[in-house]
C-alpha cells in the first residue's frame, strides 16, 4: 500500500478505488456482526464461497463481509449488489437457491425478503420500515463497509474530515466547531465534549492523552461493539481529529476483553491506517504525529468509569478515584487526559464534514444529533436503532420496534443500564433527551433500552440490577460495598416471600445514603433502579410484601403451578416432561401437580397444548385442593352437553 502524504491524496485514493471497481459486477455481502455470527453467518459465508466455486462463478461474483446492520432479530442478513437486494434470516441451506436464482438467473427469492404488515414484500434494505423510520447518520455505513479493508471506508468518503482538519483548520477552529455543535458525550454522562476537549487542551502538562472508552459494560447494550466491529475507522478518524484539536500525540483505546472480534478488527484497522500514513508519524504529510495503543479490559464493569479506566491503563486495578480533580486536568499518570465514548468519537468526522450547524439542527434544544440505542427485551424488532434526539419512546418501541410480541401488554422501558431507571407507560410520549430522561428518574446512559411487558416483575428487575452491581462494585467505599449488599439482601428476601413491614422504607433510606455518599458514579447511581421501580410500581412491592404475591408471576417462591381439572384433557404431555416427576395422572385422567415436588421450572406450562391451556400460574392465593386421583377428564365435547 502506498503512503498517502498530501492534502489531495485521500481524494485521489478514493477516485482510484471507485474507478477500479466494476460497478456492474455482482457483489454479495454477508453481515458478520455478533448477532448474525451467532446465527451462523460463518456457515452462510462459507456456503457462498463453496457454491460460487462449484458453479464456476468466481470471476463474476465478489463476496465480502460487513459489520452489524442493526436488524439483529432477522439475521443473517445478506445483500446482493448492484441491485441492492436484501435477504433476511438466510441460512446455509438457502445459499444454493440464492446463487442459482439471483446470481445466475437474475431473479429474486421472494421468501427471503422482508414482508410488511400489509403482506408487501420489500426488496431494498433501506426501505424496510425498521430502517426507514430511523436516521442512521453514524451507524448507516456499517452495511457498506468491510471492517478489515480500509479501502471500503475511504470509498465512502472516509478520512476526508481528517484531511480537512489537518490542512484547512487550526486546532482552535476544530474545538470551536465541536463546541458549537454541542456534542454531548454518548457514554452516559452527557457532558459537552467540546468543553472537555478545551479543558484538556488548556490544562498544564505534557504529554496529553486521548482515550476511547470502549468498555461498554451495561448489560444489554452493544452499540459500541457494533461500531467498533463494523466501522472502526470512523472511530479512529474522530480520535485523530480530537487529538489534533487537543494537542495530543498518544491515544488509547480501552476495549473490554469480551469483544475479541472488535479488538481484532481494530488492530487490523490500525495497521492499515499506519500503512497508508493516516496514523503514526507525519500523518498525510501534515507534520502531525499521532498513534494509538489498544488496551484490553479484563472483566470489571467499574473499570468503565473514566477515572477507573485511566487507572487500569496505568496497569493497576481499575478503581475509581475521587472526581474533585478532573481527569481532563489530571488523568493517566496525572497528565491531562480526554476520555470519550466510541459513539462520541465516531460522530466527530460527521460534524467536521457536514458542519456544526447541520448537527445542531437535529435533535432537541438540550440534546443535539442522533443517538444509537440497543432496543432489546420484549420487543418484536430487536436490534440497534439510531434516531434523532427528540424522538419519542413510543415511536422507538412501537413504530420501529414493532411493539410487544405475543400481544402482551407494555409495562415499562428501562434505559441507562444499571444506573438508570424504568419508565412506565404514562411517559411513552416523552422525547428522548438527556435531561428529559433524568427528570423522570432514569437516564440516557450509553443507550441500552430494555422493553418490559406484563410478565416482567419490577421487584425482580431491581433485584437483578443490584445483584449485578454488587458483583461489580470495587468495594473500596463503605456506602457502595455494604449499602448495595444490604439492599440486595432485602430484595432477595422480598422475592422469596419474606418481605417485612418497613422494608420499602429501609430500601429508600439506604438508597439515599448510597446515592449521596458513594465515591464514584457506580455507587451514586446504583439506587436508581430501586428508587424508580418503587416510585412507579410501589404496588408490586406491596403485593410481594403484604400479599406474598408476584403480579407478573416471576418470583418462584411466590408462584404455584396448577392444572385446572376442568380444562385438562389428559394428554400426558406435562407428565412426561416434568423434570422432577411431580405430576401424576394418565391418559384421559386429570393431571395433578404435587406442590412439594414442583421446582417451578415452568416446563408444564410450556408444553401444555395451547388449545387446552390447562396449566396456570397462581400467586398470592393458596392452591385449590386437588381432585381425587383417577378423576376422569371432562372431554371438551361433553361440556357442551
Amino acid at each position: 500500500m502506498t503512503r498517502l502524504n498530501s492534502s489531495a491524496s485521500v481524494e485521489k485514493k478514493r477516485q482510484e478505488i471507485l474507478n477500479s471497481k466494476d460497478q456492474k459486477k455482482l457483489y454479495v455481502t454477508i453481515c458478520s456482526g455478533t448477532a448474525c455470527h451467532a446465527s451462523r453467518s460463518d456457515e452462510v459465508f462459507q456456503a457462498f464461497v463453496d457454491e460460487i466455486e462449484r458453479k464456476g462463478l468466481r470471476e463474476k461474483v465478489d463476496i465480502g463481509r460487513t459489520g452489524c446492520h442493526g436488524f439483529c432479530e432477522r439475521g443473517t442478513i445478506v445483500n446482493v449488489f448492484p441491485k441492492d437486494i436484501c435477504y433476511l434470516q438466510v441460512k446455509a441451506e438457502d445459499v444454493p437457491e440464492i446463487v442459482s436464482k439471483t446470481l445466475i438467473e437474475n431473479e429474486i427469492v421472494e421468501r427471503l425478503l422482508y414482508e410488511d404488515s400489509n403482506g408487501q414484500k420489500i426488496i431494498h434494505e433501506n426501505d424496510i420500515p425498521f430502517y426507514k423510520r430511523q436516521n442512521r447518520t453514524v451507524f448507516g455505513n456499517n452495511r457498506l463497509i468491510d471492517p478489515q479493508n480500509i479501502d471500503s471506508y475511504i470509498a465512502l468518503g472516509g478520512y476526508t474530515a481528517l484531511t480537512k482538519v489537518l490542512f484547512e483548520m487550526t486546532p482552535e477552529q476544530v474545538l470551536e466547531e465541536v463546541k458549537k455543535a454541542n456534542l454531548r458525550g454518548r457514554g452516559g454522562g452527557g457532558f459537552p465534549a467540546g468543553i472537555k476537549w478545551e479543558t484538556t487542551r488548556n490544562a498544564p502538562g505534557e504529554p496529553k492523552y486521548v482515550i476511547v472508552n470502549a468498555d461498554e459494560g451495561d448489560p444489554g447494550a452493544y452499540m459500541d461493539r457494533s461500531l467498533l466491529e463494523g466501522n472502526p475507522h470512523s472511530v479512529l478518524e474522530g480520535l485523530t481529529i480530537g487529538a489534533y484539536a487537543i494537542g495530543s500525540h498518544q491515544g488509547f483505546i480501552y476495549v473490554r476483553q469480551e469483544y475479541p472480534i472488535a479488538v481484532e478488527n481494530l488492530l487490523v484497522a490500525l495497521e492499515q491506517a499506519r500503512e497508508y500514513g493516516l496514523l503514526g508519524k507525519n500523518i498525510l504529510g501534515s507534520g502531525f504525529d499521532f498513534d494509538v495503543k489498544v488496551h484490553r479490559g479484563a472483566g470489571a464493569f467499574v473499570s468503565g468509569e473514566s477515572s477507573a479506566l485511566m487507572t487500569a491503563i496505568e496497569g493497576k486495578a481499575g478503581e475509581p478515584r475521587p472526581k474533585y480533580i478532573r481527569t481532563a486536568v489530571s488523568g493517566i499518570w496525572e497528565k491531562p487526559s480526554n476520555l470519550n465514548n466510541v459513539e462520541t468519537w465516531a460522530t466527530v468526522p460527521l460534524i467536521i464534514n457536514k458542519g456544526a450547524e447541520w448537527f445542531s439542527n437535529i435533535g432537541t434544544k438540550g440534546s443535539k444529533g442522533t443517538k444509537i440505542f440497543s432496543l432489546v427485551g420484549k420487543v418484536n424488532n430487536t436490534g440497534l436503532v439510531e434516531v434523532p434526539m427528540g424522538t419519542t419512546l413510543r415511536q422507538v418501541v412501537y413504530d420501529i420496534g414493532g411493539g410487544i410480541p405475543k400481544g402482551k401488554k407494555f409495562k415499562a422501558v428501562q434505559t441507562g443500564g444499571p444506573s438508570g431507571g424504568v419508565i412506565p407507560e404514562e411517559f411513552l410520549d416523552l422525547s428522548i433527551d438527556f435531561d428529559e430522561l433524568s427528570n423522570v428518574g432514569s437516564m440516557m446512559g450509553s443507550g441500552g433500552m430494555v422493553v418490559m411487558d406484563e410478565d416482567t416483575c419490577m421487584v425482580d428487575t431491581a433485584r437483578y440490577f443490584l445483584d449485578f452491581l454488587a458483583g461489580e462494585s470495587c468495594g473500596k467505599c463503605v456506602p457502595c460495598r455494604e449499602g448495595i449488599y444490604q439492599m440486595l439482601k432485602i430484595l432477595n428476601r422480598i422475592c422469596q416471600g419474606e418481605g417485612r413491614e418497613g422494608d420499602i422504607e429501609l430500601l429508600e433510606e439506604i438508597s439515599e445514603v448510597v446515592k449521596d455518599f458513594s465515591l464514584c458514579a457506580l455507587g451514586r447511581t446504583a439506587p436508581n433502579p430501586v428508587l424508580s421501580t418503587i416510585k412507579y410500581f410501589r404496588n408490586e412491592y406491596e403485593a410481594h410484601i403484604y400479599e406474598k404475591r408476584c403480579p407478573a408471576g416471576v418470583c418462584k417462591a411466590l408462584i404455584s403451578y396448577y392444572i385446572d381439572p376442568e380444562k385438562c384433557q389428559g394428554c400426558t404431555a406435562c407428565l412426561r416432561n416434568c423434570p422432577t416427576g411431580a405430576i401424576t395422572g394418565g391418559k384421559g385422567l386429570v393431571h395433578i401437580i404435587d406442590q412439594e415436588k414442583c421446582v417451578k421450572c415452568g416446563t408444564c406450562l410450556e408444553v401444555c397444548p395451547p388449545r387446552f391451556s390447562a396449566v396456570t400460574k397462581l400467586s398470592g392465593v393458596s392452591v385449590p385442593e386437588p381432585v381425587p386421583q383417577g378423576t376422569k377428564v371432562i372431554r371438551k365435547g361433553d361440556r357442551k352437553k
Binding site: 448477532a35 444489554g220 479490559g297 470489571a300 464493569f301 496497569g315 420484549k378 430487536t382
Partner: protein, 264 residues
Amino acid sequence: MCGLTVKRIMARKKTKSAFVGIKMTSEQAELLDRLQRVLNSATKTEVLLKGLDLLGKLYPSTSIPPPWILLGEGETSPPVVTNRELAMLEAEARRYSTNVQQVRNKTKEVMKQMTQELSKTDRIVDKYKGDKSSLIQLLLELQRENHWLSEEMLKWVSQKMDIPLTQIYRVATFYKAFSLVPRGRHSISVCMGTACHVRGAPHLLDKVMETLKIRPGETTRDMRFSLETVNCLGCCALGPVMVVDGKYYSKPSTKEIEQIAASD
C-alpha cells in the same frame, strides 16, 4: 527372568571382587560395602542377611520363590547365603532400579514441563519489555495461553517485571478474566444481560447447572467444563444465549445441553 539360569546371569556381568567365593559385579560389591558401613555390621554375611530380610519385608508379594528353589511342605528357605539368594537379591534390585528410573524420568518430564511453562511465560513477559503499565495485558495473555494463572507464573512475573507481588495479586484477583485455579478444557458461558434475563436466562442457567452439576465459577471434576456467567454478549435478539468454546447457542433445549455435556 525365570527362564534364565543363575549361571548365565553371572556370566553376563564383569566381576571385580569376590565374596564368599561368589563372583559379583562391581556395583553389587559397592552396594554391599556401603550397606556394611551404613548398617554398622561386622561381617558382610550379616549385611547380606539383613538385606535379604529387609527385601523380604519390602516386597512381600514379590517374594515368589524362583523355580530353582524347591521348597518342601512347611519348609522355609534356609538362612544360608547361596547363589540363588543372591540372584533373587539382584532381581529385586533390578526391579527397584527400574522403578527409580521411571520416577527419575517422570521427574525429568515434570521439570521439563515446568521449564517449558516458565519459558513460555518468559517469552510473553519479554514481549512487554518491563513496561509496568502493561501488567493487565501481560496477565491476559498468560491467562489465554495457560487457561489459568499459577502461583509460580505470578511470582515469576513479579520478579521479572519488578512489580511487588501484592500488586500482581491485587490485579489478578480484581478482574474476572483471571483464574487462579485451573480451568476446564471447554468453557460454557451463559449470558445474564438484561435482555436475556428478561427472556428467561435464569431458567437456562438452572438447566445448565443441573446438567453439569456445577455452579458458575466452578469446573467439573473431570476438568472438562468450566461454567461462568457473562453480562451481555451482544446478541440480544437471540436471547437467552449460551456460548460453548466460542460457538453460540440461542434458546438451547434441555436435549441440546445434555448433548453438549456428553461430548468431549
